[in-house]
């Protein structure tokens, strides 16, 4: 396997600023208020329609802002072959909007022609690794760009797993040349759910490959034993523990830090609430940069 011929990194990427997931509820507000924000992100599948308001608004917002296209339906971790029709739709969407970044998930969502509309977990074994790498290479070849792969939030593990999630991700990055979308909320949720140390998890990732960060809120539940079970709900503000882990991750990233997205898909508040979270992420980035400057002077 090899990195794709055309490296998406050679094109200008997203700015290392805060961004917000674009929701139809906020289309008009964004165009009217022209917020100062680093970028917007869309779920690719929501815009795989022929015309109408979604394309009308996205086109106008795209003219003014940087854009990340984030897929939720490719099923890169799936046992089934990739859906070529879906790849064609993605290629058309990317061609139309020329986003600064494209990302997808380390997860599966389709099997045998059925789409399950959720990001489902994979076993971390050799067979899954070679399948995921083949799928990532195929996506990058077909779309002629480097993709970012997002670490999952999981509630379960597989008895068949033979390697740690971070080890698996590092190997995919190494073999395919893809980048990493570091979802800090997913790290926190997964580490609580599987009783791991989130800072160790972060340190075990190939942080040089991080091209973007996601932050979101979770919901709290418990398992049968009464231990915490966090749900990646995207329905609440970013938790303090996740902000802290974000700062920890930024300290360990390269000089350019990483574009950071606030994700919110449920109980969607007014746009300024999400904008304030994006600005909070920028403030943390600026704090890390200022700390580095002081260290350099000392």
């Amino acid at each position: 396997m090899r990195p794709p011929a055309i490296d998406g990194n050679s094109a200008p990427g997203l700015p290392a600023r805060g961004g917000v997931g674009l929701k139809p509820e906020h289309f008009r507000d964004i165009l009217a208020s022209a917020p100062d924000i680093g970028f917007f992100e869309i779920h690719a599948e929501n815009y795989m329609v022929d015309g109408g308001p979604f394309h009308h608004y996205l086109g106008r917002i795209r003219e003014k802002y940087c854009l990340s296209i984030h897929g939720v339906g490719l099923s890169i971790g799936g046992e089934s072959p990739l859906d070529e029709d879906h790849l064609d739709r993605l290629a058309r969407l990317l061609d139309r909007y020329q986003p600064e970044s494209f990302s997808e998930h380390l997860a599966w969502a389709s099997h045998g022609g059925t789409f399950l509309n959720d990001l489902l977990p994979v076993a971390y074994d050799a067979a899954t690794l070679s399948r995921v790498c083949a799928h990532v290479c195929h996506v990058q070849d077909r779309l002629k760009r480097r993709m970012l792969l997002e670490n999952p939030a999981t509630y379960l593990e597989f008895a068949a797993s033979t390697m740690a999630e971070t080890e698996f991700i590092a190997e995919v990055v190494k073999r395919t040349g893809c980048g990493l979308l570091l979802d800090v909320n997913n790290v926190y949720v997964g580490c609580v759910n599987h009783h791991r140390d989130p800072s160790h998890y972060i340190r075990s990732l190939p942080l040089d490959a991080v091209g973007q960060i996601h932050l979101a809120g979770f919901a709290r539940d418990t398992d049968v034993a009464g231990d915490p079970l966090l749900i990646d709900s995207h329905g609440a503000p970013v938790a303090q523990a996740v902000w802290d882990l974000y700062a920890y991750a930024l300290e360990r990233l390269g000089p350019n830090l990483a574009p950071t997205l606030i994700e919110r898909d449920n109980d969607i508040p007014a746009f300024p609430v999400l904008l304030a979270e994006a600005h909070r992420a920028e403030a943390i980035m600026n704090g890390v940069k200022a700390g580095r400057r002081q260290e350099a002077l000392a």
Binding site: G51, P53, H55, G112, F115, F158, V224
Partner: protein, 261 residues
């Protein structure tokens, strides 16, 4: 059976089951954790249907709707990651769903709501200019042979029930009194069309519905009028054509030689 096949089957099974091969750090029963995925999948599919079918839901209440949607989703999970058009088969399912048999109009209301989503996301196209319309109307001799390209968002529906009135009754403040005034047994036809960014829903006569269907399949104006009159003696061409023009439903006009205006 492959591991993902077993996992997928358990996600959609009506009775809570748990696929083999799962592990938890504390040795607790993985079924509770697997239930998170089961719940995510079913809730996301039911929510997607609730987004597409708000009036259908209002007519039966949330609890009934979600149970019916869950039964549909288990039997008809999505076949595509593009969820905008998920639920195209929901109306047919409702027709065969015994607990909904007491509401014979419900399936057609669902049909109307599916068409509204199609209209919302349909391809964009410019309407023909007022000048092109004026030019056509200035030469009545050309009219019978004229053929129209209709806007990609245009949809027609004919029902044995008062689907448009039922739908419209849910758009205002006082739904109950609006509903009380609807004679559900009254057959109605609908024209759906995007106007700017909004979906407009027009109640039309059955003759107009038949007329527009003929235009949709490429028949000339004269032939479409004849067929509409045969089906509905009260069909009024001026009214029907006037509606199409006012609504911006015509995106192309071809003369008998096939030249586009």
């Amino acid at each position: 059976m492959s591991p993902q096949q077993a996992f997928a089957d358990s996600l959609l099974a009506e009775q809570a089951t748990c696929p083999p091969g799962l592990a938890t750090w504390n040795g607790s029963d993985p079924a509770r954790r697997f239930a998170v995925y089961r719940n995510n999948v079913m809730v996301s599919l039911i929510d997607a249907l609730a987004d597409t079918f708000p009036v259908t839901q209002a007519l039966v209440g949330e609890e009934f709707f979600r149970a019916m949607a869950a039964a549909f989703a288990r039997a008809n999970p999505p076949r595509s990651p593009v969820m905008a058009h998920y639920g195209a088969g929901f109306a047919g399912f409702i027709e065969e769903f015994p607990p909904a048999a007491g509401l014979p109009y419900l399936a057609d209301v669902a049909r109307l709501e599916v068409l509204r989503v199609q209209t919302y996301h349909a391809a964009d196209a410019e309407s023909v200019s007022d000048e092109a319309i004026a030019l056509l109307l200035a030469e009545p001799g050309r009219l019978p042979a004229a053929r129209f390209t209709l806007h990609p968002s245009l949809r027609i529906m004919e029902s044995h029930h008062a689907v448009v009135s039922l739908w419209a009754a849910h758009q205002g403040e006082d739904v109950d009194s609006a509903l009380a005034a609807v004679d559900v047994a009254q057959p109605e036809s609908a024209l759906l069309l995007r106007s700017g960014l909004d979906v407009e829903t027009y109640r039309i006569t059955s003759g107009t519905a038949k007329f527009i269907r003929q235009l949709q399949v490429g028949r000339g104006l004269g032939a479409a009028v004849e067929l509409a009159l045969a089906a509905d003696a009260a069909f009024d061409m001026a009214e029907a054509l006037g509606l199409l023009i006012r609504a911006g439903a015509i995106s192309g006009i071809a003369n008998p030689e096939g030249e586009q205006a």
